[in-house]
Chain length 400, copies 2
C-alpha cells in the first residue's frame, strides 16, 4: 500500500494536510523528532509510531525482527523507521501505544493532536487483533472501564461512551418528526444502534460497517454497547459505506448517521465531498445527516473543510454542534448536522423530544445518561473563536 516513503530526522513537530482536490490523498508529518513523510499512500498505520527514546525489551525485539527483513521488501512504516540509521526503537502497530509511555499505561499519541497525549492506566489487555483495515485493541482500564482502540486511537470507553453515542444519535433523530428509516455508516460497536432503537417511530435500521472485527469484538467485550445489534429492526451490512451508499435508491432514508473514526485510514473517504453528495442523494426531502466532525480546539482546518463541503452539498439547514467526551482529544467532539432540501429542519429546537417520551419506571431500557433537550439546544452554542471561524461558512448564501 505504501507507494513512496522517506524517513527524515527533524526538530519541528507539525501537521500538514494537503490536497483539497477530490481524490488526492494527504501528506502528513508525524509528531516525533523522527518522522515519516508519506505521500500518496495509506496513512493507516503511520500514526501508531511511538515517540523515540524507550528502553523496552519487548520493543527491542520488534526492532531486531524488523531489521532482519531485506531492504526493499514490504515493510510497514514503523519497520522502515526502525531500519533507518541510528533509529531509536520504534514498536509497530498494536502494542506500540501500550508500552510507549509509562509501562502499564496506554497513551494516545497521534499527529492529529501533536504535542499532547492522554493516557489511561491498563489493568489487562483483553484483545489484540489486526483486521484487514486496522489494528484493534481492547483493554480493561483502571478507572474508565473497558476501552476500544482502533489504530492507536481511543474509540470508546465504558465510562464516557454515553456522551458520544447519545448525542450523535439524538441530535439528528430528535430534530425530525417520526423518523422511520435510518442508516448508520461505521458504528460497528453498536452503540448508535442502541440509541436509535429508543425511537419507536423507526421501522428500519441499516448499518454498513467496513470492519467485521469491530462488530465481533464489540459483541464479545462490550455487551452493553453491542446490545444495539439485538434490535429486530437492525440489518447489518459488512462493507464499504461509500460503495453501499452508491447503491441506495434516491430518497431512501429519513436520517443517516456517520459514526466514523478520524480522517486517516479507513474513514478518510467519509470526510470527502463525493461522500457528502451520496449522503444527500440517499436522503428523502427534509431528511437529515449527522457526522462525527472532530474537535474545535484541535482540528479547525478539518472542520472548516467539512462545513464548506456540507454548505456546498446540502440545500437545507446546516449546523455544527459539539459535546464533552473526556477520552477524546481536547475532551470534546463535534458533529456536523445537515438537512436535504425539502421540509425545513431546525436542529436548534428539537421537535421530537425523546427524553420526555421515556418513562424509566415502565421501560426496560437503561435510562438516558447524557442527552436531554437542554443539552441538545446547548450543543449548538459555539465558543467565540469558533463562531468567528465558522459563522460565515455556516450561513446560507443569499438566495438569488
Amino acid at each position: 500500500m505504501l507507494e513512496e516513503v522517506f524517513v527524515i530526522e527533524v526538530e519541528e513537530v507539525e501537521l500538514v494536510v494537503e490536497g483539497e482536490e477530490e481524490g488526492k490523498r494527504g501528506m502528513l508529518l508525524l509528531s516525533s523528532r523522527r518522522y515519516l513523510l508519506a505521500r500518496s499512500c495509506s496513512l493507516l498505520r503511520i500514526h501508531a509510531i511511538a515517540m523515540g527514546g524507550h528502553n523496552n525489551s519487548d520493543v527491542g525485539e520488534q526492532q531486531q525482527q524488523a531489521a532482519k527483513k531485506p531492504a526493499g521488501s514490504s515493510l510497514n512504516a514503523a519497520e522502515l523507521i526502525a531500519q533507518s540509521a541510528n533509529a531509536t526503537p520504534a514498536p509497530s502497530t498494536a502494542r506500540a501505544n501500550l508500552s510507549s509511555i509509562v509501562p502499564g499505561w496506554f497513551s494516545e499519541i497521534s499527529a492529529m493532536w501533536p504535542g499532547e497525549a492522554h493516557s489511561l492506566k491498563v489493568e489487562k489487555v483483553l484483545f489484540e487483533g489486526k483486521s484487514d483495515y486496522q489494528d484493534v485493541v481492547v483493554f480493561e482500564s483502571a478507572t474508565y472501564g473497558r476501552v476500544l482502540v482502533l489504530d492507536g486511537v481511543i474509540q470508546l470507553t465504558q465510562r464516557d461512551e454515553c456522551a458520544y453515542q447519545e448525542m450523535i444519535t439524538h441530535l439528528p433523530l430528535c430534530s425530525i418528526p417520526n423518523p422511520k428509516k435510518v442508516l448508520v455508516v461505521g458504528g460497528g460497536d453498536g452503540g448508535v444502534l442502541r440509541e436509535i432503537a429508543r425511537h419507536k417511530s423507526v421501522d428500519q435500521i441499516d448499518i454498513c460497517e467496513i470492519d467485521k472485527m469491530v462488530v465481533d469484538v464489540a459483541k464479545e467485550f462490550f455487551p452493553d454497547v453491542a446490545v444495539g445489534f439485538e434490535d429486530p429492526r437492525v440489518n447489518l451490512h459488512i462493507g464499504d459505506g461509500v460503495a453501499f451508499l452508491r447503491e441506495v435508491p434516491e430518497g431512501t432514508y429519513d436520517a443517516i448517521i456517520v459514526d466514523s473514526s478520524d480522517p486517516v485510514g479507513p474513514a478518510q473517504a467519509l470526510f470527502e465531498r463525493p461522500f457528502y453528495r451520496t449522503l444527500d442523494q440517499a436522503l428523502r426531502p427534509g431528511g437529515v445527516i449527522c457526522t462525527q466532525a472532530e474537535s474545535l480546539w484541535v482540528h479547525m482546518p478539518i472542520i472548516k473543510n467539512i462545513v464548506s463541503a456540507c454548505r456546498h452539498t446540502f440545500k437545507g439547514s446546516i449546523n455544527y454542534a459539539w459535546t464533552s467526551v473526556p477520552t477524546y482529544p481536547s475532551g470534546l467532539i463535534g458533529f456536523m448536522l445537515c438537512s436535504k432540501a425539502g421540509p425545513a429542519v431546525n436542529f436548534l429546537e428539537p421537535c421530537n423530544p425523546i427524553d420526555q417520551a421515556i418513562d424509566p419506571e415502565k421501560s426496560s431500557r437503561r435510562p438516558m445518561k447524557f442527552y436531554n433537550s437542554a443539552m441538545h439546544a446547548a450543543a449548538f452554542s459555539l465558543p467565540q473563536f469558533a463562531k468567528v471561524e465558522l459563522e460565515h461558512l455556516l450561513t446560507p448564501p443569499p438566495s438569488s
Copy 2:
C-alpha cells in the same frame, strides 16, 4: 507540617476524602502502587509524587540524597516514599512530573483523577521554584504555548486559558446590572482581572492571592494574562483569602470570584462551609459569587458537597455551570454560581451582555476568544447523569 505519615504498599488505586465536619482535614489515598496515607496533615506536596518504575539518573540522584537524611528528620512525602524498603525511585516535587513519563514530556498525574494522565510535550523549562505554599513550574510546550503548573497540576496554558478566565468572570458579572466592586480570591496569574477590566461599570477590583511567586511568575512569563494587574482599578493583597474575607465589612462586594486550584494544598479551605459563609457576608444584597467547582465527569462527590454547602449558605439563586478547557482533567471545568438574598439574580439569562458592548474596531482590548451570550446560556445545561445527581441539591427548599 506533616503530623503523621504512613507509607504502605497497595495494589488498589482509590481516592478517599473523609471528614465532612468543618475543621477536620481529609484523608487521601494516592493513585500509585506505592501510596501515602496522610491524616491531619498538609496534603500540599503529596499529590506530586510520581508513579514508580522509572530509571532516570536525575531521579536516582534525588533518591540518594533523600536516603542520606537521618530517619525522623523533616522529610517531605516523596522523600519518605524513597526511604521506604524496596522503594522505586520517587522524584520529589517540581521536577517529578517533568520526567516521569516520556523524557521531554510533562504528565499530569494526580489522585484527584486516578488512572488517567494528560501529557504535554515540553520544549523548554522556563522556571522552577518552590514558594512557601507550592511548587511553581513554567514551561514552553510544543503546541499549547507556555504552561503554568502548581504542585504538578496545570493551571493555565496560553492556548486555552481564554475559556476558563472568560467564563469564570463573565458568568457572574454579566448576570448582574452594573457591578462596581469586585473581589478575586486566588487568581494570581491576573487573567480574571484582565476579564473584569472589560466591565466599564466596575470601579474597584480587589484581589487576594496567597502566593506572591505566582504573581511574579505570571508577570514575567505570561504578560498577556498578567496584563490584568495593569488596570488602575486593581488593588493587590498578598495573603490568605479566608483571613482577608473575615476583615471585609458586610455587604462590600457586588461580585466575588474564587479562582482557586484543586481542594488539596493551599486552596483546600476555599471549598469548606465557613468560607462560603464569609463570602455571603461580604456580598451586598443580590451580589453574586462564582467559584471554580471541578469536573462533572471526575469529581461528582466533591461537587455534591459544594452544591450542598452553597444551597445551605446562599439564600438567593444557586446554579452549576461548566465549560470546555482541554488541559483540565476530563477536558472540562465547572463553576458554582450563587447570589445572596436580595434582588433576584437569574444566572441563566444574562442581563449585562458584555460581548455586545465591545466593538473590536474601537477597542484596544483583545477581542473575546471564548465567552459570548450563547455560551453563557449553554453553560448551565447539565448532562442527564449530572442533572440526576445535582437537581435536587440545586432546587431551593419549599418556602415555609
